[in-house]
């Protein structure tokens, strides 16, 4: 297997494609290009240990440097792709360099959605890159107060880290309950109680209208509900926007991400997409969407590498169960399968002494997913069950269609 592969974006998805291609015996030239000045690193620690513990880049690198030499990969750092020519399969970098390849993998990820409230510019931090995390870390000190705009996973983990270093944390959430859309009301309430017990203040059902810097240097946040909050540091965690602009006009379909099939193929031959930037077609004919989770990026990378190498993946996209985890106040939250938009949620296990619990999510009477805290060993055991349910449901769909 040879030919050349250019991977644009070197995070979990991009580096995953490289590793998997080499594992499959692909011996052509592989180049990774990324706008970040650092060697490829892992993002989950950025809102956790990088804020509270060891901040060294070595601790978060996906691989140490010799790994890339060993795989004979060329890594171009601190270089942004600014244009993609889909016909010629050529990428132009901000340095002016042009790189063409037999295969191009779009893995440019996403960037933090900016917080656009009146006065917010320059006063509100976001958290996406290692540099962002170091900037936030430098400002965090015991006893200061931190306002966190958005109660999603980044917001929740930042709040947890802020409490861990002994500072005050206030989450401001637009919805009535943080994480309700992702985990449903029952489990979102349990997470809210966990925050509460850890001393995180949650101000819900309102947004920030305006931010002003006070003479003291602190920031004054006016909320839509007429109240206000003062904080030393303001962080926004409002989700991410896919980095697709550079690929405009290339012929690949762009609509809230790079549109591709269940193998990561875009409509331009030889051009694939994986990770946060990619909007993968669902295996069951469902809605194509971006799967902004670490394991999804990893799985997509694996599948794209197989497609490029002309091999059959051990596990197709349809066999992939959504999985994510989050570390909150020293506890591990995990979810496996589908948990979003499901109302039939049943308590399957609880240990009040340890604060552990596990909920099952049912859709039309069928188990669709599980979520819990401090129950990792139990969640694993659902893997087979959920996979079987998925296959059963697919068989039914096929029977109906035929």
């Amino acid at each position: 297997m040879d030919g050349s592969v250019l991977i644009v974006g070197a995070s979990v998805a991009g580096v995953g494609v490289l590793n998997e291609l080499r594992r499959l015996g692909f011996n052509g030239q592989i180049t990774l290009v990324d706008s970040d000045p650092e060697y490829p690193y892992d993002r989950p620690p950025l809102s956790k240990s990088v804020l509270t513990g060891d901040p060294s880049i070595d601790g978060v690198l996906l691989h140490q440097r010799p790994h890339y030499d060993g795989l004979k990969a060329k890594i171009i750092r601190a270089s942004s792709a600014i244009r993609l020519d889909g016909e010629r399969r050529e990428v132009e970098l901000d340095s002016g360099a042009r790189i063409s390849a037999d295969f191009i993998v779009i893995a440019t990820g996403s960037r933090a959605r900016p917080f656009l409230a009146d006065g917010a510019q320059g006063l509100v931090l976001t958290l996406r890159s290692y540099c962002d995390a170091m900037r936030l870390r430098a400002l965090l000190q015991p006893r200061i107060s931190v306002a966190i705009v958005g109660g999603g996973f980044i917001g929740a983990e930042v709040a947890s880290s802020v409490r861990a270093i002994g500072a005050d944390a206030t989450i401001i959430e637009r919805d009535p309950l943080p994480l309700e859309r992702v985990l449903g009301t029952t489990v979102a309430r349990r997470v809210a109680s966990l925050h509460e017990a850890a001393g995180v203040v949650q101000v819900c059902d309102t947004g920030v209208e305006r931010i002003r810097q006070m003479l003291s240097g602190r920031q004054y946040l006016e909320l839509a509900n007429g109240t206000s909050i003062e904080a030393d540091v303001v962080v926004a965690g409002l989700g991410n926007i896919p980095n697709v602009e550079w690929a405009a006009g290339s012929g690949v379909e762009i609509d809230n991400g790079i549109f591709c099939d269940g193998s990561g193929r875009t409509r331009m031959p030889g051009i694939y997409a994986a990770g946060d930037v990619a909007r993968w077609q669902s295996h069951d004919g469902g809605h194509a969407r971006r799967h902004e989770h670490w394991t999804a990026a990893r799985e997509q990378a694996r599948i794209v590498a197989h497609a490029i190498a002309g091999a059959e993946p051990e596990k197709a996209w349809g066999a992939f169960l959504p999985y994510f985890w989050s570390d909150l106040h020293g506890r591990r939250l995990q979810a496996l399968g589908r948990t979003s938009g499901i109302d039939d949620v049943r308590l399957a296990f609880e240990n009040p002494d340890k604060g552990s619990f596990l909920y099952e999510y049912y859709e039309a009477g069928n188990l669709a997913g599980v979520a819990g805290i401090g129950v990792a060993g139990k969640i694993t055991r659902y893997n087979h069950v959920l996979t079987d349910v998925g296959e059963g449901a697919r068989t039914k769909i096929e029977e109906t269609v035929n």
Binding site: E299, E314, Y323, G374, A376, G377, T380
Partner: protein
């Protein structure tokens, strides 16, 4: 076959336990991998290799003899 695990990389997805329960276990609460057998017998090699391939965080290294 020798096996090494990297607990710092492990993300507690539990794939290894599903593939090779005689070789890998995980912490009941945080899910981090526990190596039960760093030198498995030949009948466990195939499932152990599969565990390493499916590990989402590449936390399992297999050193083939």
């Amino acid at each position: 076959m020798k096996i090494q695990i990297d607990k710092a990389r492990c993300i507690a997805a539990g794939q290894c336990v599903l593939q090779a329960p005689k070789v890998f276990d995980q912490d009941e609460e945080d899910g981090i991998v526990i190596l039960l057998n760093d030198n498995p017998t030949e009948d466990l090699w195939e499932s152990t290799r599969m565990a390493a391939r499916l590990c989402p965080s590449e936390a399992i290294t297999i050193i083939e003899d």
